[in-house]
């Protein structure tokens, strides 16, 4: 029995997943987490540091690490990479001006060795705003197709305000991680 097998067994027993929420500031990361957890989203301060939220999702326990996206905090993101099963990259779909920043930061993240095996869900957030870019447009601008074949990824349009798309996104992420970690024995 190898180390990997032991780790898999331990994880299977707990059925835990570690999910990292990242993205530029003002993307809506904390709002998404609070929304799927059914909390009040009307008075969320910009995240100074990080929040951890543990929640039951289907048969899994999700440990969601919601890390602040301000420029000052981005250099600390690497402290959270270890043992990440899945990443959620949140994009503000109405912030066209910073999409280049967004692409730059995302591709920097994709190069991280510690995140090499993690599934990636991209939330094209703020779809409730008129004139927001569609997930397809964002996929093109962010050049997501470079990940084809090297990573499990999915882009889904959502709105943290209305809640639309959030469950579809987490369903995909959890089932993808689940099939990777728990079913492949």
């Amino acid at each position: 029995m190898g180390l990997l097998t032991i780790i898999k067994k331990v994880k299977k027993k707990e059925k835990e997943m570690r999910i990292l929420m990242v993205g530029l500031d003002n993307a809506g990361k904390t709002t998404i987490v609070k929304r799927i957890n059914g909390e009040d989203t009307s008075s969320i301060s910009p995240t100074l540091g990080f929040n951890i939220k543990t929640m039951q999702y289907n048969s899994f326990r999700l440990n969601i690490w919601d890390v602040g996206g301000q420029k000052t905090l981005r250099s600390y993101w690497r402290n959270y990479y270890e043992q990440t099963d899945g990443m959620v990259w949140v994009v503000d779909s109405s912030d066209l001006r910073r999409l280049n920043d967004c692409r730059h930061e995302l591709h920097g993240l994709l190069k991280q060795e510690k995140l090499a095996g993690a599934s990636l869900l991209i939330f094209a957030n703020k779809q409730d705003i008129k004139g927001a870019m569609t997930p397809q447009e964002i996929a093109r601008v962010l050049n997501l197709e470079v990940m084809d074949g090297s990573r499990h990824w999915q882009i889904i349009g959502c709105s943290a305000v209305t809640g639309e798309g959030l469950l579809a996104g987490f369903d995909w992420l959890v089932s993808d991680i689940g099939s990777r970690i728990y079913m492949l024995e």
Partner: protein, 386 residues
Amino acid sequence: MDPNQNPSQAYKKRHFRAATLEKKRAVMEERLQSHYDSYLRDSTIRKSQTAAIADPRESLDAFLAVFSQRREEICVCFAEKKAALLSSPNVEDVASLKVELESLLLEVGKLQKLVADSSFYLPTYTMQSAQATVTKLKEEVETAMSDLLPKRKFSFRGKSTTTKTASFQGIQDEQNAVVNNSFQGIQDKQDAVVNNSSPGNQDKQDDAVNPSFQGIQDMQDAVLVRDAKDLEEDREFRLSNLSNCRVYLQGKFTTLYVNKLRNCHVYAGPVTGSVLIEEVQGSLFMLASHQIRIHSTTATDFYLRVRSRPIVEYTKGVRFAPYAFHYSGIEKDLQAANLMEETGLWESVDDFRWLRAVQSPNWSVLPSDQRISMEGPSQFEAENGP
């Protein structure tokens, strides 16, 4: 013994015995002779056989002679090539030298094979030293070759394009399925976005024509007023690249992006989502919003009502005061945006560049005697308007 025995009989008996012995001896000698003969015969046969089988190279001396001679040849040849290599930087010469070095490498290979073939009759020491010599020679030649022409780096070749397209197609379809959007739709939208980035969209007329953009950009020395009828509630509003402007946004909308403003005054109705401000100098903002982020801003006053703690990052000399804006119908808008009551958070500013307990030097509370009085466009227009 029989005492009555006849002496002649006894003699006869003795004689007979002697004759028998003689006979036996002769037989024995004959047998020995034949043994010896057959041995001689066999040995000559064996000798001739061995001679037939035996390889003249199969002797240590012969091997050493051949090995050292060929090693000598290779060494001399290699030294020549090396000298040639150093003296001629000519490209063609280099190419031909490379070919020669390759043939030299083949020679070394042959030498190695010789050692391997002789290995069954060579003493261990000779064997090992010969192998070491060959390995060293080979390394030298290879180094010379790689110096001459660097080895091609290993790289993955692209897979056949057909499979690639197929897999991409699959993923593309999946995305479309998730969002339920046709490819045509994206194409159109893409074009719309491209149009937006061109300047001259600041006109209300243009905004109406171009539904995916709402905002004001690239203006100087202007007074710009947008009323509720001009502002789409579920749309973002952008202020970009303005200088010496006064902007009045008298209605509610969902998000405000501010970028590159100099010496501007911005008065805005409630923003139901968030406000993002970047690169502003010497300006004044009157804002009510759920979230406010201020980046890279200097010498600017903010009159805020917020439902969360405002943040500053890379800012200097920014001051904060409570929101005090008025236009007809603002109460209704504030109520609808859940921003009616004063939260007092306008002075709970987090400076992300100042994580110590003491007050950040980058921001301060604007003293009440320096605050502007409640201002509206009507008042402004009464003074300076057309």
